[in-house]
Subunit: 499 residues, 2 copies
Amino acid sequence: MQTVDTLEKEFKELLKDQDAYREALALVQWDLRTKIPEKGAEQRSEVIGFLSQKMHQLATSDKMKHLIDQLKDKTTNNVLQKSLEECELEYKRSIKIPDAEYKAFVTLRSKSESVWQKAREDNNFSLLQPYLEELVSYNKRFATYWGYQDNKYDGLLHLYEPGMTTEILDTVFEQVRTGLTKLVKQISETKIQPDENLLTHHFPKKDQENFSLDILKKMGYDFDAGRLDETIHPFAIGINPNDVRVTTRYDENDFRMAVFGTIHEGGHALYEQNISKGLAQTPMASGTSMGIHESQSLFWENFIGRSEAFWKEHFDLFHSYAPAAFHTLDFSDFYTAINAVKPSYIRIEADELTYCLHIMIRYELEKSLINGDLAVKDLPEAWNQKMEDYLGIRPTSDREGVLQDIHWAAGDFGYFPSYALGYMYAAQFNNQLSKEMNIEQIISSGDFSPIKNWLTRHIHQHGKMKKPLEIIKEVTNEPLNATYLLDYLTEKYTKIYDL
Amino acid sequence: MQTVDTLEKEFKELLKDQDAYREALALVQWDLRTKIPEKGAEQRSEVIGFLSQKMHQLATSDKMKHLIDQLKDKTTNNVLQKSLEECELEYKRSIKIPDAEYKAFVTLRSKSESVWQKAREDNNFSLLQPYLEELVSYNKRFATYWGYQDNKYDGLLHLYEPGMTTEILDTVFEQVRTGLTKLVKQISETKIQPDENLLTHHFPKKDQENFSLDILKKMGYDFDAGRLDETIHPFAIGINPNDVRVTTRYDENDFRMAVFGTIHEGGHALYEQNISKGLAQTPMASGTSMGIHESQSLFWENFIGRSEAFWKEHFDLFHSYAPAAFHTLDFSDFYTAINAVKPSYIRIEADELTYCLHIMIRYELEKSLINGDLAVKDLPEAWNQKMEDYLGIRPTSDREGVLQDIHWAAGDFGYFPSYALGYMYAAQFNNQLSKEMNIEQIISSGDFSPIKNWLTRHIHQHGKMKKPLEIIKEVTNEPLNATYLLDYLTEKYTKIYDL
């Protein structure tokens, strides 16, 4: 029989091997989305397949099972114990799906993604419908394999937000939805009309880049352990604990894309850069959930980056990079314009206030699909109706309606709520932070380190060692509470729109 | 018993797996030398170790041995047959060195590289001496393990230049050495003094980059299957057949570094970009030897890139990027300056004419070391003496003498001759090409495609399917012949220096 010491050593080695595959794969993904020449991508996709398969083989290997069985609850090393639990979860999830079924699902998903491209181009939902029907069936079965207590949808939700349940979501989402629809309606009835055209003067890419770099530095992003590159769909990626990269996109006629995009991805990156180095090369060395990750990006993008104090402090810096056309802007007009609220069809273009409503719609629809309360064929109509109910606008085509996101076509159900959870978590953290320090004063000082350090101490450093709801509870002394988001948005937008 | 069909399928799968590791590793290497943030490198080096080990495991696996044994000389697929031969060579080489010995060698080499850094900084050969002594012993033993016919040095030379022998090298190198030392002496006695200061006006990096990009395009480098980035020690790398990247280095006070460096690496890249796609994901999909690879980079850098016709054709383009200080340059002064000959201590800074003499010195010394005719302790003196004999200058310190290159300190013996072979191969190809077309006229037309296509047809497309000496013979209808290099250099420099 092997001693705990020997088993621990073996387990650490196995984790290191897994992590080496993960790191290589992360670099390949970064390169694929930032640097790869057009023709290089085809063969590279085989490398992605190969490395993913190797990771999967390790995760489901007999050796992994042996180590989980022999070492779990026997090791006194807390990081290894949590890693064993995480590995066990992944092991069980993987082996519960029969190999042939999973392979068929992967093939279907890949086909469905291309069909989605075409369906969206042609504005033709019926092309995608049979694929979606099959993908929903698969997801229903997966939820059953993986198990759930009350609601089948929970079986999928757990993948992205461990510990979260449909029951919790139903409560908080309804509260948020009710509050937001009321606010949006109020705003639509005011006379105040922010002029977003003020913001769309030409702004050269290089100057936007330099401004973005300055802001990232001020946020405390470590450029010796990261870099900023250009891409089409911005993302942040932790390649290793000391190599966490940010990407952004430049629109020379709308600097908001790059600047707010960079701050958003910078928030994700700060999380990954500040995970305790003691967790390196274990599954614990990453953000604890999609929702908590999103809370970090949204906190920086909105609570800091769209605040009055932030732009007051950085208006001179902004002008030092911005072309002459921006120099005559009135600060108050500028601040109102970057916080303009306007119901729109496309989620990724939505403002801070209406964004969550887009998520509610998707959450309610995918929950109904998984529970069999809605048929795929009825999805477009249901989508349009909810848009009208919550946002007061009705898409005139499926392209700007149900076909806009790739998630469902890629077989992902249960992911969308993370975005809205991120807003709620961020607001709850923000409320706690404001009890402990004067946030506005810190922003005005231009030195964000007290904020960054607070986030690191309470959230970042723990990586996956604490579950999302555990973090919320420990940091804010109460469970998830949607009131903070509503209060924050009500206060901010009442002031801007003089409600 | 397995059928040939089944074995072929299995072998192809194994080659694909190997190639996936190779591709991931190539991307990691590219990133490490171009993009990685400082702190990210430490953990990344573990990924390099891991992926290298995996490749090595496949190369020496029982499965590989089985496939070689069962399939070699039985397959009728020529690419697979050559791949089997290549795999067998690597398999035999690997298993001949006892595991413990190889591991000790790798550790020693790694230590020795750091000691070399310090020895060079401190100008203290005695620090490195004991390491070099051990490394020479290892290499002697490796040469014996791997086998040779006449000269122990051949056992190492074969690694880099399959089929090449000390016997051939001794003959051609002596011829080149004699011719070159005579030429260098003649030049040192002429009154013509090129003024290199003409070239060292400030030239902004961005403009150098744009000029380099234009030249790469004109060479026929495919930017849809590659890219140009900045680095400290320039290189080209084939990540996959459709992703072959070039790197360069900019010195704003000497544009020659970037421009000739880019053309040089572009020559390597053209080779890799134009290997037949039918060889992809096999060991055949790479350059056939270090020497032939170097012939391609040197052909473009010197025979094309330093020619009078090239600069006449591109002088306007050059001026369109170069600052005003370059605009008044007389063409003939410019052309003479970029071909200035001056014996110097440092190999990588040497001109076209003296470069080969630097290689001869290294070749003669490392051959003596491996054959036991020279003791490591006598190396510095022997180095300095040969510098004086061949170049007429004597280093005043080991830093600018025997300590300048990392190769020996990294345990690499047998590599240096490739550089000089590249010059000879290039001259021999150039001679053949000039029989088939008017090179000068093609350069003057600004459309290099006839040259690029000739190189692809005769050299590039074959990848590793033909051995270096086989290519030389087939393309030029004779064996390696050093006369062409001497004739070319004599003609060119007689004209420039009015000898």
